[in-house]
Assembly symmetry: C2
Homo-oligomer: 83 residues x 2
């Protein structure tokens, strides 16, 4: 399992409720892809969203977003967490 | 206090040790700017770094990086953390 940060550059019409709803859908869908969406951060003003996700591959992380709500990230970067 | 995600697009020669050293310098310097660098994630391959930071302003967060090691972020985005 690897850790990824994904970035959505500009989600049109982003609101706190909308992103919470999308994240809840990720959580419903993720198990069958062996993925864990851990945390997210967002900015309503710019429409940016960052998701921290544990997944077997970038493709698996993307598959969850695609199936859950269709809003795929613009970038998915494999990261290590600093200690 | 606000929460920010900063992004360094490409830190040349990034290594786990180098980023840990830079982060340790942030922690030494941050108090006088009333800033708290909370967590960071990085990718040695691409040189990307994400820092999650609590600060009174973007400028204060930037001032800590500038004073600590001189590596300023390319973007600093005010965010809310999803729950």
């Amino acid at each position: 399992m690897a850790l990824y940060m994904d970035i959505h550059h500009k989600v049109e019409g982003l609101t706190e409720d909308a992103v919470a709803g999308a994240h809840a859908r990720d959580l419903e869908v993720q198990d069958k892809h062996n993925v864990k969406y851990l945390k997210y951060w967002f900015d309503e003003g710019s429409g940016k969203v960052f998701c921290l996700v544990q997944a077997p591959s970038k493709e698996a992380a993307a598959a969850v977003h695609r199936e859950a709500h269709g809003l795929e990230a613009d970038e998915i970067i494999e990261v290590q967490e600093g200690v």
